[in-house]
């Protein structure tokens, strides 16, 4: 038993443990997601987070200790954002052809996401840091966290809200868009990318390549627009 404790105290101090833990949780969640027929309710990000949150609680590990190890995965968000230039370039000609619908849907989706989130939360009695942290939640995580920080929100809370937004979007997009009878893959993907960033984009790629590419375009453009709009709207609304 003392051997085990010794090994544990070594591992608990080591970045390798939670780096492996994060990958293992994701592999498990992804396996579950696939065997369940890719139902969006079992979103692999959400399942991984739940598994890891339970593990942290069971082992009495703090988030900063966990993040020491997991930061290597988190770091890759930056290069992955840059890598979105690839699907954008592949679809460059089609994007240029759909420029008008793209710009109109970008402004409509981005404004709706920001104003309705802050408005609804405010009406339900949310205020202060939590309210500010909600404003950029449709933008991709690294962008939203930066915006949140600059307007006086909490970046880590924003990260969680961004994740939840992505999962909600990934779960709801297909049934919602079917209900609205929208069959244009460009419109379906683009709106999902604008409203639900990378997680929505990952979902869109699972459904259809065109939808995925347009989701990536929507996510990239909304990262830009949210960064510009949120400080402006917050000044106007509050």
């Amino acid at each position: 038993m003392s051997d085990f404790l010794e090994i544990w105290s070594y591992l608990a101090e080591n970045q390798l443990l939670w780096l492996s833990g994060t990958l293992a949780a994701y592999v498990l969640a992804d396996k579950l997601f696939r065997t369940a027929g890719r139902t969006p309710y079992l979103n692999p990000v959400l399942i991984s987070v739940l598994i890891l949150a339970c593990l942290l609680w069971l082992t009495d590990t703090s988030f900063p200790v966990y993040f020491e190890g997991a930061q290597f995965i988190h770091f890759m968000l930056g290069p992955a954002t840059v890598a979105l230039a690839v699907p954008l370039f592949i679809n460059f000609a089609r994007v240029r052809k759909s420029l008008l619908p793209i710009l109109a849907a970008l402004f409509a989706g981005s404004l709706t996401a920001i104003i309705s989130a802050v408005g609804i939360a405010w009406a339900l009695g949310i205020s202060g840091e939590s309210l500010l942290s909600l404003a950029p939640k449709s933008a991709t995580a690294p962008v939203a966290m930066g915006i949140s920080d600059s307007i006086g929100g909490s970046p880590t809370l924003t990260a969680v809200l961004v994740l939840l937004t992505g999962v909600i979007g990934a779960v709801a997009a297909t049934p919602l868009l079917n209900l609205l009878r929208i069959k244009d893959w460009r419109a379906r993907g683009f709106a999902t990318g604008v409203a639900a960033h990378g997680i929505g984009t990952a979902r869109a790629f699972q459904v259809n390549d065109t939808a995925g590419a347009f989701a990536a375009v929507g996510m990239g453009l909304n990262a830009l627009l949210t960064a510009l709009l949120v400080p402006l709207l917050i000044a106007l609304m509050l």
Binding site: L52, V82, N178, K183
Partner: protein, 126 residues
């Protein structure tokens, strides 16, 4: 592959530097994305070099959100008291944004007389 990773990192780095130098509210990686896109347009062979690595990375995009998501453990108290309001705001605003974005896209596309080649096979087979 290493060259491709290096290029992604350099684009991000230049993006961060530009954002800070000019005091732009834009995150570095987003500027890096724009920069890489310009490089592809200016010099197409770069695209072939980067494509496999970039697509490999994007295939596992979901994984990269996990560490930030685990940050939820630090906000359990807040979510206990404000959870309902926050969750309602998230659900409703996300549904609204998807619906309005898609309707506007489809509407404007129709107004432009855009004959849609993307209607393949219908959207209901998912």
């Amino acid at each position: 592959m290493i060259l491709a990773v290096l290029l992604l990192l350099i684009c991000q780095l230049i993006g961060e530097v530009i954002a800070r130098m000019l005091g732009l509210p834009l995150p570095g990686p987003v500027l890096g994305l724009a920069l890489l896109l310009i490089l592809f347009i200016v010099h197409k062979p770069i695209f072939a070099r980067v494509q496999p690595t970039a697509q490999g990375l994007l295939q596992h995009l979901s994984l990269l959100f996990v560490p930030a998501g685990v940050g939820i453990v630090g906000h359990v108290d807040r979510l206990g008291t404000e959870g309902f309001g926050i969750l309602m705001a998230l659900i409703l605003s996300t549904l609204l944004a998807i619906a309005i974005g898609a309707l506007v896209f489809a509407g404007v596309s129709k107004l432009c007389g855009d004959t849609e080649e993307n209607l393949e096979k219908g959207a209901n087979n998912e």
